[in-house]
Symmetry: C2
């Protein structure tokens, strides 16, 4: 991993990854950050601004001939559901265009480019069975999830054809995203942490018993980097990994926040469950993630570490330089 | 089913379906047949010639506002593997464009358009487990199969959004295709029948023990029509059906041919297995097709009926009017 491209680099996860790779000790020779608007970043990274929906922009990125590409750019699930044409354009067509262009351009040293694609647990949809494993039928409840699944299949096909290396990672809700309006329907998971950390009231749109899959931005970055370095022989046939997660109820997360910030914080939470959100984000069953663990992927280990990682990740080293409501990170 | 559009109507399965629906007793008011080159057809059908890769052609088809659309047009698996850009264009992009355009144009009477999409058993790929069912992991061994799977997911998403009705059918090798060069890697399955029917020698590229999934064109047409009439309440959540099949070894098919045409025909077959073909077409395991049978889908019942249906289907009522090596039928 010497020449690296990150799409969606001004987004939450993209920004954390960019910060990590721009550090001097990361040993990256060339770090190319792509997004619709650049953001400040420490180190020697270079920004390329443009819209992934523009084929010329995709070609320009491929012409960098990076050995490793993190495809994090996406139209969030809520927005994609309201604007299906734009959703298809970014989350499917442009993603495939990028795979194709990067495969065709190749790398500086002739090795196959490694593509790490940020997929999502949105591929599963609602009505999940008692335990999720690699045979769980997928019935996405959002076009976002349908397109993520389609792109996973496309990436596996590029690998089969010998044109790319790499894999797709199914990311759960990543916390704690920056506060403020976001396109993600799951934004409440981050908002809960920020509110209780700040000592503010929080109206929770799912019940205390709602069980969700959790991962910090810090942990997501570790897994993305691990994926980029994973040997082909350690890959699964479909080149898709369900990452390990912490499966926690909202009450368990509130407990962990109360443990860190004081018991009084519990009283700040009022549960007003929304049926639709509860159905999508409150019914995640246990996950059989043994394969991913054996392959070296990780979760945040404990609720306390989840909180610590999540709120540490929030310290902004990246500041978006212009207004931009197009979030590029991979969660619905 | 009053106004019907068939894409790939000059292909093998498309032609059989067109012939059936153009019969006076089919009760179709308007039958629109689309393909790159028209073919003669009895009845009141109307041809529209064009390339599905052309967005204007797709819009023109959608403007017919048919209540039922059979999307049979495809780039065959062998060709798509050699020309991946064209394969993606037809089997994925244009197929999704058609879904989108038909959903957007709607129907004459305001009901949701019914889309019946010809998918393929190529979605499974090699390395199948002991029995195939609806939880079998899919690892397509051809881009054709990857794109078919992606289009299945897209159609299910249009249905979920309330913009289309219908479903995808996974078709096995359909016999007996017309003789002559075809893009399908599975063409030998049809060629075997034609050769033995005609009393000609046949060099079989898979072994006598090779087990494949078989269906006649006649049977495929019955299933396509059944799919178009299937009530939404009878559909599966993923809107994808693995059709029932006859699982037969090559030796069993040769037996059935010998039974019909005389025992001497056995000596016409020489087995010269090709490892690659054997891996793809000779290792199909048993199939749990109970769900599809309960829903009313059918197979050819017996090897003898398979042969009878397959060779009857071969009688050409449709003659392609110009040279065209672009086959539109759904099998690899």
């Amino acid at each position: 991993m010497k020449r690296v491209l990150i799409t969606g680099a001004a987004g939450f996860v993209g920004g954390l990854l960019a910060r990590r790779l721009s550090a001097a000790d990361a040993g990256i020779e060339q770090l190319v950050l792509a997004d619709r608007a650049s953001a400040s970043v420490t180190g020697s990274a270079r920004w390329i601004e443009g819209d992934l929906a523009d084929p010329a922009f995709v070609d320009r990125l491929a012409a960098e001939r990076c050995d490793t590409v993190f495809q994090l750019a996406s139209q969030p699930g809520g927005q994609a559901e309201r604007e299906p044409a734009r959703g298809r354009r970014i989350n499917l067509d442009a993603t495939l265009d990028l795979f194709e262009a990067v495969a065709s351009a190749g790398t500086e040293h002739g090795a196959r480019p490694v593509m790490v694609f940020a997929s999502s647990i949105a591929v599963y949809g609602t009505g999940l069975t008692a335990q999720v494993d690699d045979r769980t039928p997928l019935h996405p409840a959002l076009s976002y999830g349908a397109h993520k699944r389609m792109a996973e299949i496309a990436l596996a096909d590029f690998v089969r054809r010998g044109e790319l290396e790499g894999c797709s990672l199914r990311l759960p809700g990543i916390v704690a995203r920056p506060r403020g309006p976001a396109g993600q329907a799951s934004a409440f998971m981050s908002e809960l942490m920020h509110a209780l950390a700040a000592g503010e009231r929080f109206v929770c749109p799912v019940s205390a018993q709602a069980s969700a899959w959790w991962m910090s931005g810090e942990c997501a970055v570790r897994n993305l980097l691990h994926a980029a370095r994973l040997d082909a022989s350690a890959q699964q046939p479909g080149r898709t990994w369900q990452l390990p997660v912490l499966r926690l109820s909202l009450a368990q997360v509130v407990d962990a926040l109360a443990q860190r910030f004081g018991d009084g914080r519990r009283r700040l939470v009022e549960y007003q469950p929304d049926d639709a959100l509860e159905a999508i984000f409150g019914r995640y069953p246990p996950l059989d993630d043994r394969l991913a663990r054996v392959a070296g992927f990780v979760d945040d280990a404990t609720p306390a570490l989840l909180i610590a990682n999540a709120l540490q990740a929030h310290e902004p080293l990246l500041t978006t330089t212009q207004g931009d409501n197009h979030d590029r990170t991979p969660h619905p």
